[in-house]
């Protein structure tokens, strides 16, 4: 027998998550709805008498007209498509915006499902002088209304009791008697018979509610799985109404609001005085033409610094820990394939996953704080004008900014964007932002081919100017990519920015910490396993097959070197032999051979096979490019220090003796790194966040093609014009 399921519904910003955490305690688990990238939490709700039910937290929605995936999930769960019918719905209502919040409650009541209304934010309501007679409201709605304050934990026992009572009286409730005009009733009569296809065993009340839902939701939707008979009936009913010059949407919604206004008028004893005075005062500053923009810049700077530098000590600590673990493996196991696998495959792979945790945790703490306090909506309000230009939502700004530090937390941050289309477009564009892992590559190349002494216009050093150009190109590329994606693969109606600016509230620490932990946990479990697996695969490609001939030859050299009397000289010789062996082995490995095979393809970009191997190695993380090059050049012991690599690169030549790293080739290489999706962790996290392999594959493809085309064009055009060849 499956457990009794109770749903938790409510508007965004109504305090639903806080209530959910209060009611379920530590039993909550976050999961994804099958097929859509909407998260839901479910947990155990303990009621009196040892009774416990499953409480499922629905996404926050303003209504049940299924526009976004979030609303669709709510509708599916409610009408129990393919799942067990919910035993009851608890709807969280913000008392300070009563009528609008009750709109969703009314829609739920119309379905006939047993409803308990949790009248939240009662503490805030009382402060403004708002007095609500909850019993009168209960009578008007025909459902129990429990005044609570989820943030303070007030009224929760009463709420639990009412849920138990509600579950004790199963069966359908009579729907509220909203007086719909004749035009609506006629349309419902046309659609009702077709509803049977959609939900065969629905009761009369629920059929009527579904008919109203279809009239409001169908027509311009992108829903799948709606029977064509229902679509046709809805279209016919809407056409008939249109002939009579009736807007059915407006007629339905207006009738509901008229009913709600009457119910609210009867229950509100005293209206709020100046209900948003605090928020108004804060907004006078935070949304001010100058002060508001200044605060915005400051807050965004803090977000950026957090990711870019404040997380660094923790990241370095993790890197040190990974290094220590690798050393431990090295010391406790005999040399061989197993040790190598553990050290450079498994431990390095775990390190590749854990290293992102500080950035993810910090970003989500900050983002959660901004969102729960109400400021994130203001961020969208302030910057929407710019984002709208490229077809993105105002809320895409924070993820794009975060992308300058690291794409992994940035992709995860796109969750604050409501509509899926906008979210995916942002997700696919974010990796073009120049993340901090690209910096070591830029620095290496600039140090190799551009002089830091040479000045442009007398003040700018050539290197700094090139570096700035890379960042500028990446920002332009990101915005253009978003604009192109929104007009092609993610084409759709321009989403209206209808955004609520909720009252400012102090975020609740427990909710913040819990949601941050959930993000970290889901990253570790879902994206982490993919990153670990890819690290091991990449390690194997860079290690195998091993050449016995190379090993034997170097072993012989080692034997010869062992007779060197001077200790310092002997050790230097041994290191040189080790480096040379690693270099020859990597050339012999699958990745080395692949790099060699790629040379004809890379040649027109100005790269040789060594750069090719470096690019393959950089797939683990871009900064690994420097270390892989060190191994390829046979100077592995210097891999933490870019200077020897830079020197090796500077003196490297093509097989015909031409210089490898000309300024033009350097520029081409940097541009390749600006555009290429050289990061398996990004791919893993986009798969996790988009819910399918389709989007990461598209992202990898478009970025790689773009990188190739840009590098190709720049190198070929430059060669033709004779620029930067020496």
């Amino acid at each position: 027998m499956s457990r009794v399921r109770v749903l938790l519904a409510g508007n965004p910003n109504a305090g639903k998550t806080t209530l959910f955490n209060r009611l379920t305690g530590s039993t909550a688990r976050v999961g994804n709805y099958p097929g859509v990238t909407v998260e839901c939490s479910a947990g155990t709700l303990r009621l009196a008498d040892g009774l416990s039910v499953e409480l499922m937290d629905l996404p926050g929605t303003y209504s049940l007209s299924a526009r976004s995936p979030e609303e669709r999930v709510a509708v599916d769960a409610l009408f129990a498509r393919g799942e067990a019918q919910p035993a009851a719905v608890v709807v969280v209502v913000d008392a300070t915006a009563l009528t609008r919040n009750l709109y969703l409650a009314l829609q739920l009541l119309e379905t006939g499902v047993p409803v308990v209304v949790a009248l939240n934010m009662m503490d805030a309501a009382r402060k403004t002088g708002l007095a609500i007679d909850h019993e009168a409201l209960s009578q008007a709605l025909g459902a129990q209304v429990v005044p609570i304050s989820a943030a303070r934990g007030e009224g929760l026992d009463v709420l639990r009791g009412q849920i138990a009572t509600c579950l004790g009286n199963p069966g359908e409730r009579s729907a509220p008697s909203v007086a719909y005009p004749a035009s609506v009733e006629d349309a419902v009569a046309v659609v009702s018979p077709a509803v049977a296809d959609f939900q065969p065993d629905a009761s009369a009340g629920s059929r009527r509610a579904l008919a109203l839902w279809a009239l409001l939701s169908l027509g311009d939707d992108e829903l799948v799985g709606v029977p064509s008979r229902l679509r046709d009936a809805t279209a016919a009913a809407r056409a008939t109404a249109l002939e009579r010059a009736t807007d059915l949407d407006q007629a339905i919604i207006a009738a509901r609001y008229a009913w709600l206004d009457a119910a609210v008028t009867r229950s509100v004893l005293q209206p709020a005085k100046n209900e948003r005075s605090f928020t108004d005062k804060v907004d006078a500053v935070l949304l001010h033409r100058f002060a508001g923009v200044a605060v915005f810049v400051l807050v965004m700077y803090v977000v950026f610094e957090t990711l870019f530098s404040w997380s660094a000590p923790m990241t370095e600590l993790i890197e040190a820990g990974v290094g220590a673990a690798q050393e431990l493996v090295q010391r406790s196991l005999p040399p061989g394939s197993l040790r190598d696998l553990l050290e450079n495959g498994v431990v390095a792979g775990v390190g590749n996953v854990v290293v992102f945790v500080p950035q993810i945790a910090l970003l989500f703490l900050l983002l959660g704080f901004l969102e729960d306090s109400g400021y994130l909506a203001r961020v969208a309000f302030l910057i929407d004008r710019v984002m709208a230009r490229v077809g993105l939502h105002g809320k895409a700004f924070v993820p794009l900014l975060s992308g300058n530090a690291c794409a992994i937390p940035a992709v995860m941050a796109t969750r604050t964007i409501e509509t899926r289309r906008d979210r995916i477009a942002t997700m696919l564009a974010v990796p073009l932002m120049s993340c901090s892992a690209r910096l070591p590559v830029y620095v290496l190349v600039i140090a190799t081919v551009f002089s830091s002494d040479e000045r442009v216009l007398g003040i700018f050093s050539q290197g700094a100017l090139v570096l700035f150009a890379m960042y500028a190109v990446s920002v332009l590329a990101t915005l253009s990519a978003a604009a192109v994606l929104r007009r092609t693969v993610l084409k759709g109606p321009r989403p209206a920015l209808v955004l609520e600016l909720p009252p400012y509230r102090l975020p609740e620490w427990r909710t913040l910490l819990r949601s941050t932990w959930e993000r970290v946990r889901s990253f570790l479990v879902d994206a982490g396993t993919v990153i670990l697996a890819l690290t091991i695969v990449l390690w194997a490609l860079l290690t195998y097959p091993k050449s016995d001939e190379v090993a034997a030859r170097h072993e012989a050299e080692r034997v010869a070197a062992a007779s060197i009397a001077d200790t310092g000289e002997r050790e230097a010789r041994m290191t040189a032999i080790d480096d040379s062996e690693s270099g020859e082995q990597i050339r012999n490995s699958a990745a080395g051979r692949f790099g060699l095979a790629l040379e004809p393809v890379l040649e027109p970009l100005g790269f040789d096979w060594r750069i090719g191997v470096g690019i393959i190695g950089a797939f683990a993380a871009r900064e690994v490019f420097v270390g892989t090059l060190a191994v390829v050049f046979g100077i592995a012991s210097g891999e933490d220090d870019p200077v020897p690599v830079s020197d090796a690169l500077a003196s490297a030549t093509h097989s015909d003796g031409r210089k490898l790293m000309t300024p033009l080739a350097g520029l081409s290489l940097m541009l390749f790194f600006v555009f290429a999706c050289q990061c398996m962790s990004t791919i893993a996290v986009v798969r996790r966040e988009s819910g399918s392999w389709r989007w990461p594959v598209l992202m990898f493809t478009y970025m790689t093609v773009l990188a190739y085309v840009v590098s190709f064009s720049v190198y070929q055009l430059g060669s033709l014009m004779g620029w930067g060849l020496t």
Partner: protein, 92 residues
């Protein structure tokens, strides 16, 4: 949609002024969302402020603040109320 902002449409209502909604004629998804949030014919709406870059605008409707772009506001026909009207109370 009118080519220029006019006082008869929401995008032409000056900051601080209140108007009564006459009709909501945006694209269907936008119109439906606005109406579901309570912006219906007959509802009072106050223009609270306009974002520093000139768009979007903040509205006060039924105890809550909504932000909508000018292009969307242009689809909402309104009747401006005299200044003496109570600005704060956007009663239904």
């Amino acid at each position: 949609m009118p080519p220029t902002p006019s006082a008869e449409h929401l995008d032409g209502v000056p900051v601080g002024r209140t108007a009564t909604v006459v009709s909501v004629a945006c694209e269907r998804p936008t119109a439906r969302r606005l109406m579901e949030l309570g912006l219906l014919p007959g509802t009072r709406v106050t223009v609270v402020r306009i974002a520093p870059m000139g768009c979007p605008m903040e509205l006060r409707v039924r105890d809550s603040s909504l932000s909508i772009r000018r292009a969307e506001a242009a689809g909402v026909a309104v009747q401006l109320l005299p200044v003496s009207g109570d600005l704060r109370k956007a009663a239904s």
